[in-house]
Subunit: 497 residues, 2 copies
Amino acid sequence: MLETAETGRKVSKAYYHRALPALRAALLEAQAQLFAQQRRPVVVLISGEDGAGKRETIHALYEWMDPRFLRTVALDDPTQEERERPPMWRYWRTLPPKGHIGIFSGSWYSDPIRLRMAGHISQKRFEAQAQRIERFETMLVQEGAIVLKLWIHLGKDAQRRRLHALEADPRTAWRVTPWHWERLKTYDKLQHVASHLLALTHKPHAPWVVVDGEDEHYRALQVARVLLDALGAPMPRKQQRRPAPKPPVAGPVPKSAPGLAQLAEHAGPALTQRRYKAELALYQGRLSELARHHQLRKRSIVLALEGPDAAGKGGAIRRITQALDARQFQIIPVAAPTDEEQAQPYLWRFWRNLPRWGHWRVFDRSWYGRVLVERVEGLCSPADWERAYGEINDFEGELVAARVIVVKFWLQISQDEQLRRFRAREQTAFKRFKITREDWRNRAKWQAYQGAITEMVERTSTSKVPWDLIEANDKDGARLEILRRLCQRLEQALALS
Amino acid sequence: MLETAETGRKVSKAYYHRALPALRAALLEAQAQLFAQQRRPVVVLISGEDGAGKRETIHALYEWMDPRFLRTVALDDPTQEERERPPMWRYWRTLPPKGHIGIFSGSWYSDPIRLRMAGHISQKRFEAQAQRIERFETMLVQEGAIVLKLWIHLGKDAQRRRLHALEADPRTAWRVTPWHWERLKTYDKLQHVASHLLALTHKPHAPWVVVDGEDEHYRALQVARVLLDALGAPMPRKQQRRPAPKPPVAGPVPKSAPGLAQLAEHAGPALTQRRYKAELALYQGRLSELARHHQLRKRSIVLALEGPDAAGKGGAIRRITQALDARQFQIIPVAAPTDEEQAQPYLWRFWRNLPRWGHWRVFDRSWYGRVLVERVEGLCSPADWERAYGEINDFEGELVAARVIVVKFWLQISQDEQLRRFRAREQTAFKRFKITREDWRNRAKWQAYQGAITEMVERTSTSKVPWDLIEANDKDGARLEILRRLCQRLEQALALS
């Protein structure tokens, strides 16, 4: 695939200098529009063989455009803070916000290529990574990003000529080391691996553009043109993008998930306070011990609690965190996104809150907001919440693959029980602030929410991160059940059960 | 000082349980107000001797309050990302936003105490650190934060009794190690060092409260009461807080600073294009070489460019970054703060943008906005911009102390020259977006700005980070001068000149 780019095409210096000014003006204009509208981020990947002109290309982009709204991300070895999160975390944390252009020198392609070349991952795993990348980029595009992937290509002969030329000149000979000649030996392997990866991830909405790097003027003009085209690309049209429902990617839906309606109606005998306290102490003790398990020094835990207003999420979270050391956990109450979060893809605000090893993050409401409140309230388009199921499954899949322990609870209460709790809250001075007009408004959409909840549970209960559905009309019983299941999930994850 | 807290006061369990509910309700109410108003962050430091009940106190806070708006910061050894920034960076990045309560278990006091006890820093340095802390906390309070510093105290005898009691019980004996008995030997030293530090940093607006930790019920009630008092503290009144101008803390004002008015009027003979290009290449080459200096692998560089609209900041920045590798630098255009930035102290958005080792951050406008645009446009109170001079000097002082290279340029143009440039921009298609109604409005306040600029230069030109004043009516000359001075500053910092 790559060698087809070796067109040998050159342009004269004179032609270059004639053609460039108009291109530069157009690029600057397009960039100014991009920034003024603040609607789309631009992700530009600069890849290619050694010496093909990657650095020069980045340099040229800075020459041509307003450098204040460009940022180059060049990631070396992951830092410890990065190593303690899933591999994609470092890219999420460096994504450009809307209106800005992020240039990635080295990207999510670097690791698969390097690992496959060294034989550290199988072909199958390599292809699975390609699929993950493809889904990640599709997500970026559907979130409004412009994704442009450049491979600056230098043929093997050109590469060899380049090294010889450098060696021949006493001023540049020092730049050629034995390592460079070694790299030339792996040139064919790189071609093989990279070509395959490029083919797998070349999509109309996130295309690879291979640019012949040998002639610097040709290369520069090509890059400028390709970038200008990309900046002018229309926003994806939401209406057309509603895909057919797909099964979740990370595994099949467990057949045993009970219906939500039955869940709320079922109620066992109420617990005595004495029995509740005894069992609470028991489970909290067990959880406290599990939380000190040596494996957790190198793993982290993400909990999500979802449920209707007044379902008891806050109370359940308190019973969990009581068993933990406050230095270990943080509760993330999920409400409206900040403006920095709105300038990023939907999942960004959850990625940014992933814990380090040994730490817990407890989400009081979570990334499921898009398929619940945003869907029901019409805060996003149908296409947006439709694709969210797959994106959420991917997100949780990446967490699990990085050995993060993920547990998610749905607390179900009946409509009558919710009404009782709303009324009770209004009676209690220090709980009154918890009940707002919005709560009553949400309540009016109960049926719409039930439909959304059912679809959510069906489409995001994966074998690795199943929903734990909790009958929550009985508050005490629900708290115990949550603690019990949480302990179970931890024991499973730690391979203790 | 600390032993005066050994009151031996106890409260009965019965009294405790009678007194607590009202306190808890009041705390919850105060916290709800805090969150609803979103006006003030709360910083609570929990310090004290081993076993005095720090952990239990944090646990109690979580019991009493809404844990969703609490976060505990417990910092161990700095991570590499933290080590590559000034020591306070890790605290800045964990400050709670407005409406939230941040509990610091270990804080900016930990290092001075530890280092002084070990004799690694002199008494003088220790006291200088105390002063820095005091100024930092004053800044927090003046930015609206409630700062509460708790020292949970356990007397030496009580400490000894505690260890013996733990040892005597087979279930807890394992918790006492030889290390604990060793620590007891340094008890008196800790008392000495901590008492001194507490005395130095005990201020009415950020008081230390020493709580006798021996009786758990007494301790808990005291903490609850103190916190409740703190949450009810009135906002500092801006009007009363205008301090008398003080000399900048980091050094004297250089006497040789030329007047700004003269600066803009002075103009040498214009450069020929040929000479400009030759000199530009010369300085860029020198800068490029300096940027690769081995020392910079463990140091970082912060540049700030300030000046009136159309003074040529952007053009100068381009000439600088042309000499750098795009993977090394990022330009930070400073405009209106985001809402996350508004929920933090003013300097937070500059702290968050400090570079790692080997990296440059070029600020296109900077932390001087407060004493320029915010002052002139009345975007902050006079008290706010008054205190900003000292805070800015402290900020730059901390950077320099951490071996960050800081260079700041003021580009001065005359009013006539600005008018010419505005008109020219309006004529050029791709520059038209750079000129807005606001630019014209700012221009009308030229005189007010000149006063603010003069005061800024006088009060923030410190011996370590002097202003580099640039005559910028001649664009090319200004660019060369900036490059020349930047090279000089780097050579000074790298001790090459």
